[in-house]
Subunit: 255 residues, 6 copies
């Protein structure tokens, strides 16, 4: 029995609210238990300098927390004058993950900025961010389709993330809340596509290590959780979601 009564393979209650903020091309408020993240996707009609002239688009992400999203107030990164290593790691992860399921040649020299702002944190903010960011990004790219600026949706597959870990009790569990996360010996984040392929595996044991068997157990738990996340994403994306994976890829080949 876990500290909040869940089973070891049980996700916390999840909600996604579409069009949460009015200005962005795509916007979602994702809630995973008490963790709440606003995911806003913005389309900009140019790419960063290193991408110019290649006829391809770019997707990048930024991640931040409100100072009091957490139990103890954190100093704002703008006040510190720099972004912490943790933030950089997370936003690089989110951007990389999103790019893995999008055909960058399929939406012109545009940038999609995905901002994940955690307004309330209770563990799993990076996986919630990825799951919500995918929806916000797809909605934003969908507006290009709607405005006939692109011919087909260049999103190749669904994408979601789940956390798994091994508690100090030795038990492997799915979707750790803050208290569990603080207690865990091993912490692993899995990013996966709708087709069940891995996009990222990041497993770490700060004071502990883990065996191959434990790795396999965690991968299985993650898989269970991810299937539910994909279902929820399909539901919220509705008709637009049906176009995922149907797009003509660059160079005219069907996937």
């Amino acid at each position: 029995m876990r500290n909040d009564g869940r089973k070891i393979n049980e996700l916390r209650p999840i909600k996604m609210e579409k069009d949460y903020i009015m200005h962005p091309e795509g916007s979602v408020l994702i809630e995973v238990g008490n963790t709440k993240v606003i995911c806003n996707a913005s389309v900009e009609d140019r790419v960063p300098p290193f991408m110019r002239g290649q006829g391809k688009g770019w997707i990048t992400a930024e991640y931040a927390m409100l100072p009091r999203a957490t139990e103890k107030r954190n100093i704002r990164e703008s006040s510190k004058g720099k972004v912490t290593g943790r933030t950089m790691e997370i936003q690089r992860l989110i951007g990389r993950a999103l790019r893995s399921v999008v055909d960058l040649e399929g939406f012109g020299e545009r940038t999609v900025w995905v901002d994940c702002d955690v307004i309330q944190a209770d563990g799993g903010t990076r996986t919630a961010s990825i799951t919500g960011a995918f929806v916000a990004m797809t909605l934003a790219i969908g507006t290009l389709l709607e405005k006939k600026q692109i011919k087909s949706l260049p999103v190749k597959d669904y994408l979601a993330a789940a956390s798994v870990g091994i508690l100090s009790s030795g038990e492997a569990v799915l979707d750790l809340n803050y208290e569990e996360d603080a207690d865990a010996n091993v912490d692993m984040n899995i990013v996966m596509t709708g087709a069940g392929e891995f996009v990222e595996i990041q497993g770490t044991g700060e004071e502990a290590t883990f065996s191959k068997n434990e790795l396999f157990t965690m991968l299985d738990l993650a898989d269970e959780g991810l299937q539910q996340l994909f279902e929820l994403q399909k539901e919220i994306l509705g008709e637009l979601g049906e176009s995922i994976g149907s797009g003509q890829v660059a160079q005219g080949e069907e996937i």
Copy 2:
């Protein structure tokens, strides 16, 4: 008739949701039309270095916007590595305003941090921030009373802010939305106490100037709006609000 059908002395619809975020000692989501600001107040058990050893508390504020709170995405201040002049002006204003209605000697060597994070912007973010920040701050200080860490509420009066301005048409209006703000020749923010005393008056005409008569008209409009804001604050603060102004001030004198 204004661009959204309001009368010249009409506020936009206002809502405040108490305890919006779970961790802070005081938390309010304030919505003024489409402008939405999360105001979180945190109590820290120490004061900044320049205040130490005086037996007094301190109140300070920070203000920020999500990158896509606005029509066009803004670069994060953490990425720029510095806080802009506009942000600094606003957060200094909020802090100064809050301190004017609190007896700093009444809550010990503690700091109340009030974070105003704009998640959606449509004009009037600084006045909405002040109005919401007052409620969040009062709730936070109220927890000290509840935990019997202080004997009486050191909040001396209500505090709210309203914007007024003169549109390019020459008409003076209350509570400008973004479109009106962009059009206005004169922009003025008034911060006032429940007793009707001024705390701050900031009026500016970037490309235009204004006469003494126009000033008086704007002051009257602001006054009308502010009365409604005080009503709403009373309602949301409920029983705690009744203690405002009743506290024993420092040096043992009743107000």
Copy 3:
């Protein structure tokens, strides 16, 4: 009787020395009592990126203090690696005020930089800066007229600033020196045009508040002081000053 023997509506002795520094297009040393500010205006033949291609000019200001302009030495902002909130507020105010009396379409795609460097401080540095900056800016724009790079002087009116306040004794006074400023409950800066229109009103009561009557008393005091400042500006600008307000405004209309 005030701490330096002045009457409540009496300015401190004021001097302006034209062409104080040899390189700038416009340069003034303004002394208001013991407050001394070097105001240098520089003309640059281009505008900032956000203004390009509009055929208009731009005016911007920077403000700083020598480390030992004050009683206690301050750390240089260049050593801190950032500009403080107070400095940003003041330089934004100066720039905004100057732009309000200049027809930006009247001097081509040029920038006038006005640097206000306080070499000695005794209260009222921001109002002295504005009063001196107006003269330095007008001299600098005058050199464009002299060199026949513009046809008429695009300065629409005089501009000066005065401080007023309410001392702890309850008395409203004009032009506070440092000691008075430290004592005052309310501090207000008024920026006005030669025609008597307001450009900026910034009134604040950090630990105190003020009534509408007190506001009116302060506005009247400011008005008295400002008339003397305009006289002094006229005297120092001489013949060039006579062209103020006579220029053909954009769109071919006489003012």
Copy 4:
């Protein structure tokens, strides 16, 4: 056949030179093919603020590259005024990995700083850094033992890292050089203890994804390479290496 003639499960030639730099308590130059990293471990007699008073030590790592360690010269991070996200990710990884095999309670309130400076890069700089850093750190802690400042070596096990990946040809290979790394679809770094337990798994497919079978193949390849790295570490650490894992752990229990 790989681009440099190696077999898919073949490491590049590896050398470690002990005591490479004269000042540090532990110093190793590690060469993995053309990749060369100076690993210097320094012992400082205090811990960072967040660790003070707990009677425990701390281990932290920094990573950098000379500007021309790479084919194209990079701008120094000191000139940029900030550390990049990539650098932060790597140094956080190295520090975390080292801490996983050390009993922090076993060497007092001291910090071991491990600096990994890449002087020549040809792929695999982060895994070479970890493998070399472990040796430098162990040597540094060994000096405490020698000076009798600690009673036993608090290093619990060997630690090394290897990279594996899937080339665009679909082939899984061990220890990618720069050219292979640029070509690879999937890039994975495995950090493991001498006992064969995982410490970190970081696998990522920027433009591609990978299946569970591919994951298993890569884990096996990494395992082969890591055994060779442990052998080399044992050889270079000699007698000191024999004390690894023999130390008395905190709370007086034998491991």
Copy 5:
């Protein structure tokens, strides 16, 4: 004949105005031709961390230019967020030079900050700064003597600086103005004590080199100029100057 009619061994007209700014313990405006530098010396009752507990004082200098001290406006270092290499070199030089003639053990754990702010530049700003800074510093330390906080003046000798150089014509000259400086092949700054000992020699030929004979010629020219500077310093320091070199040095030995 030089561009301003001077002889090769002729200094520009020099003036020093004592007590130029009212707040600092020592203040001098030094004018060397058109070069004008405000030198303010401040006494602080503590030393920097690396000097604490040694019973000695510290002397440090900062140097800056107003943005429009020069022909073309420079961006403020506070806006850039960093101090340039040129500024750092100059302020390190000034501080080092001042410390060479002061017995640091002779004024307790105090810091003398000497701020050299160039308000108008026409070549030779660093040598003018040193010559003026010495006077400001001595005045500041003199106030400690006056207030009986120290027993004798710990200034061991006079200190001044002069520039010499070799013009493109091949002629060696004393005290270069801006135009000469821009033309010169070799630029040398000499800092010397009243007793004729060298404190600093910095000679550089950016695009040219210089022979031993040219070096000797320049040293002689500098010597001529420096004698005049010492005379002027004596005159301005008056009675206080007579105590220079008379102080009892640390450990009770007469100099």
Copy 6:
């Protein structure tokens, strides 16, 4: 007798290893006693903005130390977020010195970046850097000759640097090691060309001063050491070195 047994006019053993790092166009590891500096020269096909369109090249240098190059670990400048004054002074010196012996018009609009990274420090790092940097730079420019991108070698003369100083014993010595440097009263660095002309003289006495006679003694000692350094440079540059000074200078004149 010196602390390491050398004669007063004796250099420490010197070694230079050519092509030390594989990527740069020119690379040298220079060892002067225990001081070791990697000097890498990189050719970039463009010049900095202030040099564009002049048909000339640019040479610039950067200098850094590994954190543990020294007895006590230093904080990285990238972590501090800024380059120290000492580093800036040294890298400006190296760049200036290199430019003095190169005909900048002789290698097109290219930049040569010379990175001097001290991996082990024992005094004299800046002079070792200059001596090594000259070789690395010449090798890099030599590759342009080899690739027939320039017609002749635009290096006009050899360039090397030596340190001299006066120990607390009063003895003048050549090439100070760290211990001597810490003890010395006067520290002087001399940069000279193969033809015996001075490029830079930087002499400083932090707590002491020096006479003209002492200056002459130091200049003679430096001269002795520099002749040996030129011999070594000739040897390592071999055939390429023979082209030094033979190049046709700009404007078609033979040197």
